[in-house]
Symmetry: C2
Subunit: 93 residues, 2 copies
DNA sequence: ATTTTATATCGTAATATTGCAATATAGCAT
DNA sequence: ATGCTATATTGCAATATTACGATATAAAAT
Protein backbone atom coordinates (compact mmCIF):
# COMPACT_ATOMS: atom_id res chain seq x y z
CA UNK A 1 0.00 0.00 0.00
CA UNK A 2 2.72 2.41 1.02
CA UNK A 3 4.63 1.70 -2.16
CA UNK A 4 1.68 2.52 -4.40
CA UNK A 5 1.01 5.71 -2.47
CA UNK A 6 4.65 6.58 -2.72
CA UNK A 7 4.54 6.27 -6.49
CA UNK A 8 1.54 8.60 -6.51
CA UNK A 9 3.36 11.02 -4.26
CA UNK A 10 5.00 13.20 -6.86
CA UNK A 11 3.33 15.98 -8.84
CA UNK A 12 4.91 14.89 -12.12
CA UNK A 13 3.52 11.39 -11.68
CA UNK A 14 0.07 12.70 -10.82
CA UNK A 15 0.31 14.85 -13.95
CA UNK A 16 1.19 11.80 -16.03
CA UNK A 17 -1.81 9.86 -14.73
CA UNK A 18 -4.12 12.80 -15.30
CA UNK A 19 -2.80 13.24 -18.81
CA UNK A 20 -3.41 9.56 -19.48
CA UNK A 21 -6.96 10.01 -18.26
CA UNK A 22 -7.47 13.12 -20.34
CA UNK A 23 -6.30 11.75 -23.65
CA UNK A 24 -7.89 8.36 -22.97
CA UNK A 25 -5.02 6.53 -24.65
CA UNK A 26 -1.37 7.30 -24.86
CA UNK A 27 1.72 7.06 -26.90
CA UNK A 28 4.07 8.52 -24.47
CA UNK A 29 6.23 10.89 -26.42
CA UNK A 30 3.33 13.28 -26.02
CA UNK A 31 4.38 13.60 -22.42
CA UNK A 32 7.74 15.03 -23.34
CA UNK A 33 5.90 17.83 -25.12
CA UNK A 34 3.18 18.13 -22.50
CA UNK A 35 5.30 18.25 -19.34
CA UNK A 36 8.11 20.68 -18.55
CA UNK A 37 10.58 17.89 -17.91
CA UNK A 38 13.38 16.26 -19.83
CA UNK A 39 12.71 13.01 -21.62
CA UNK A 40 15.01 11.12 -19.28
CA UNK A 41 13.09 12.40 -16.28
CA UNK A 42 9.74 11.41 -17.71
CA UNK A 43 11.03 7.98 -18.55
CA UNK A 44 12.17 7.68 -14.94
CA UNK A 45 8.74 8.64 -13.61
CA UNK A 46 7.07 6.24 -16.00
CA UNK A 47 9.25 3.48 -14.64
CA UNK A 48 8.24 4.38 -11.07
CA UNK A 49 4.58 4.25 -12.03
CA UNK A 50 5.11 0.96 -13.80
CA UNK A 51 6.94 -0.59 -10.87
CA UNK A 52 4.03 0.37 -8.65
CA UNK A 53 1.72 -1.21 -11.24
CA UNK A 54 -0.15 2.04 -11.61
CA UNK A 55 0.39 1.93 -15.36
CA UNK A 56 1.15 -0.72 -17.91
CA UNK A 57 2.94 -0.35 -21.21
CA UNK A 58 2.38 -2.14 -24.48
CA UNK A 59 4.94 -1.94 -27.22
CA UNK A 60 3.39 -0.64 -30.44
CA UNK A 61 5.90 -0.48 -33.21
CA UNK A 62 8.67 1.81 -32.12
CA UNK A 63 6.47 3.63 -29.62
CA UNK A 64 4.96 2.45 -26.34
CA UNK A 65 1.34 2.71 -25.38
CA UNK A 66 1.18 3.44 -21.69
CA UNK A 67 -2.16 3.06 -19.93
CA UNK A 68 -3.46 3.31 -16.42
CA UNK A 69 -3.75 -0.03 -14.65
CA UNK A 70 -7.33 0.03 -13.42
CA UNK A 71 -6.78 -2.85 -11.08
CA UNK A 72 -4.33 -0.96 -8.89
CA UNK A 73 -6.53 2.15 -8.83
CA UNK A 74 -9.40 -0.03 -7.70
CA UNK A 75 -7.32 -1.64 -5.00
CA UNK A 76 -6.27 1.73 -3.67
CA UNK A 77 -9.84 2.92 -3.88
CA UNK A 78 -11.21 0.01 -1.92
CA UNK A 79 -8.48 0.35 0.68
CA UNK A 80 -9.62 3.90 1.31
CA UNK A 81 -13.23 2.86 1.14
CA UNK A 82 -12.76 0.37 3.94
CA UNK A 83 -10.83 2.95 5.92
CA UNK A 84 -13.76 5.31 5.51
CA UNK A 85 -16.19 2.68 6.74
CA UNK A 86 -14.06 1.94 9.79
CA UNK A 87 -13.89 5.65 10.55
CA UNK A 88 -17.66 5.79 10.94
CA UNK A 89 -17.33 3.58 14.02
CA UNK A 90 -14.87 5.90 15.69
CA UNK A 91 -16.08 8.68 17.89
CA UNK A 92 -13.26 10.68 19.40
CA UNK A 93 -11.51 14.03 18.97
CA UNK B 1 -3.02 15.39 -4.16
CA UNK B 2 0.58 14.35 -4.63
CA UNK B 3 1.48 15.68 -1.22
CA UNK B 4 -1.19 13.62 0.53
CA UNK B 5 -0.14 10.51 -1.37
CA UNK B 6 3.44 11.24 -0.50
CA UNK B 7 2.59 11.33 3.19
CA UNK B 8 0.88 7.97 2.80
CA UNK B 9 3.88 6.61 0.98
CA UNK B 10 5.83 5.23 3.89
CA UNK B 11 5.19 1.92 5.67
CA UNK B 12 5.58 3.48 9.12
CA UNK B 13 2.96 6.09 8.32
CA UNK B 14 0.56 3.49 6.97
CA UNK B 15 1.16 1.53 10.17
CA UNK B 16 0.33 4.61 12.24
CA UNK B 17 -2.94 5.15 10.40
CA UNK B 18 -3.88 1.50 10.70
CA UNK B 19 -3.10 1.54 14.38
CA UNK B 20 -5.29 4.61 14.82
CA UNK B 21 -8.07 2.75 13.04
CA UNK B 22 -7.57 -0.36 15.14
CA UNK B 23 -7.65 1.26 18.55
CA UNK B 24 -10.37 3.68 17.48
CA UNK B 25 -8.85 6.52 19.50
CA UNK B 26 -5.31 7.30 20.34
CA UNK B 27 -2.99 8.76 22.86
CA UNK B 28 0.12 8.50 20.86
CA UNK B 29 2.72 7.22 23.25
CA UNK B 30 1.19 3.82 22.47
CA UNK B 31 2.86 4.09 19.11
CA UNK B 32 6.31 4.16 20.65
CA UNK B 33 5.55 0.79 22.19
CA UNK B 34 3.69 -0.54 19.18
CA UNK B 35 6.14 0.35 16.42
CA UNK B 36 9.81 -0.66 16.21
CA UNK B 37 10.96 2.93 15.87
CA UNK B 38 12.47 5.53 18.16
CA UNK B 39 10.21 8.13 19.70
CA UNK B 40 11.84 10.92 17.70
CA UNK B 41 11.19 9.05 14.47
CA UNK B 42 7.54 8.48 15.29
CA UNK B 43 7.12 12.11 16.18
CA UNK B 44 8.60 13.00 12.81
CA UNK B 45 6.17 10.71 10.97
CA UNK B 46 3.27 12.12 12.96
CA UNK B 47 4.28 15.57 11.86
CA UNK B 48 4.36 14.46 8.22
CA UNK B 49 0.87 13.02 8.57
CA UNK B 50 -0.32 16.16 10.27
CA UNK B 51 1.17 18.44 7.62
CA UNK B 52 -0.67 16.42 5.00
CA UNK B 53 -3.83 16.81 7.11
CA UNK B 54 -4.21 13.06 7.30
CA UNK B 55 -4.39 13.26 11.09
CA UNK B 56 -5.23 15.91 13.60
CA UNK B 57 -4.00 16.19 17.16
CA UNK B 58 -5.78 17.50 20.22
CA UNK B 59 -3.86 18.27 23.36
CA UNK B 60 -5.27 16.36 26.32
CA UNK B 61 -3.42 17.18 29.48
CA UNK B 62 0.19 16.23 28.96
CA UNK B 63 -0.63 13.77 26.19
CA UNK B 64 -1.91 14.34 22.66
CA UNK B 65 -4.88 12.63 21.13
CA UNK B 66 -4.10 12.01 17.49
CA UNK B 67 -6.96 11.03 15.23
CA UNK B 68 -7.44 10.38 11.55
CA UNK B 69 -8.80 13.34 9.63
CA UNK B 70 -11.77 11.82 7.84
CA UNK B 71 -12.09 14.76 5.52
CA UNK B 72 -8.74 14.12 3.84
CA UNK B 73 -9.41 10.40 3.55
CA UNK B 74 -12.70 11.21 1.89
CA UNK B 75 -11.08 13.65 -0.50
CA UNK B 76 -8.51 11.06 -1.50
CA UNK B 77 -11.23 8.50 -1.85
CA UNK B 78 -13.36 10.64 -4.11
CA UNK B 79 -10.35 11.57 -6.22
CA UNK B 80 -9.78 7.87 -6.89
CA UNK B 81 -13.48 7.30 -7.35
CA UNK B 82 -13.63 9.87 -10.12
CA UNK B 83 -10.51 8.41 -11.67
CA UNK B 84 -12.21 5.02 -11.65
CA UNK B 85 -15.28 6.44 -13.37
CA UNK B 86 -13.19 8.11 -16.05
CA UNK B 87 -11.34 4.87 -16.63
CA UNK B 88 -14.58 3.16 -17.62
CA UNK B 89 -14.72 5.41 -20.68
CA UNK B 90 -11.28 4.40 -21.85
CA UNK B 91 -10.83 1.45 -24.12
CA UNK B 92 -7.23 0.90 -25.09
CA UNK B 93 -4.31 -1.43 -24.31
C1' DA C 1 10.24 22.13 44.06
C1' DT C 2 11.42 17.80 41.82
C1' DT C 3 10.56 14.01 39.20
C1' DT C 4 8.06 11.64 35.78
C1' DT C 5 5.61 11.21 31.50
C1' DA C 6 4.50 12.55 26.82
C1' DT C 7 5.94 14.80 23.09
C1' DA C 8 8.77 17.97 19.99
C1' DT C 9 12.96 19.71 18.11
C1' DC C 10 17.85 19.76 16.76
C1' DG C 11 21.91 17.96 14.72
C1' DT C 12 23.71 14.62 11.99
C1' DA C 13 24.84 10.43 9.32
C1' DA C 14 23.09 7.26 5.96
C1' DT C 15 20.29 6.64 2.20
C1' DA C 16 16.97 7.69 -1.48
C1' DT C 17 14.97 10.64 -4.87
C1' DT C 18 15.00 13.95 -8.46
C1' DG C 19 16.49 16.05 -12.72
C1' DC C 20 19.33 16.06 -16.52
C1' DA C 21 22.92 15.54 -20.24
C1' DA C 22 24.94 12.01 -22.65
C1' DT C 23 24.61 7.72 -24.52
C1' DA C 24 22.38 3.31 -25.84
C1' DT C 25 18.76 0.56 -28.04
C1' DA C 26 15.42 -0.71 -31.24
C1' DG C 27 12.02 -0.28 -34.72
C1' DC C 28 10.76 2.54 -38.94
C1' DA C 29 11.49 5.05 -43.11
C1' DT C 30 14.47 6.05 -46.87
C1' DA D 1 22.93 0.50 -44.81
C1' DT D 2 21.75 5.05 -42.82
C1' DG D 3 19.29 8.23 -40.53
C1' DC D 4 15.16 9.26 -37.75
C1' DT D 5 12.00 8.63 -33.91
C1' DA D 6 10.67 6.88 -29.47
C1' DT D 7 12.23 5.28 -25.44
C1' DA D 8 15.56 3.45 -21.79
C1' DT D 9 19.76 3.53 -19.21
C1' DT D 10 23.82 5.47 -17.08
C1' DG D 11 26.39 8.70 -14.35
C1' DC D 12 26.27 12.36 -11.51
C1' DA D 13 25.15 16.56 -8.77
C1' DA D 14 21.69 18.60 -5.89
C1' DT D 15 18.29 17.90 -2.69
C1' DA D 16 15.12 15.41 0.40
C1' DT D 17 13.99 11.76 3.50
C1' DT D 18 14.75 8.65 7.18
C1' DA D 19 16.38 7.19 11.63
C1' DC D 20 18.13 8.30 15.92
C1' DG D 21 20.56 10.15 20.11
C1' DA D 22 20.52 14.11 22.75
C1' DT D 23 18.15 17.77 24.40
C1' DA D 24 14.05 20.82 25.20
C1' DT D 25 9.34 21.69 26.73
C1' DA D 26 5.35 21.34 29.31
C1' DA D 27 1.81 19.26 32.07
C1' DA D 28 1.01 15.82 35.92
C1' DA D 29 2.26 13.42 39.95
C1' DT D 30 4.90 13.27 44.11
Amino acid sequence: MASVAKALGHPARIAILEYLLKVQSCICNDLVIELPLAQATISQHLRALKNAELIKGNIEGNAICYCINEKTIEELNSYLESMKIQLLKINCC
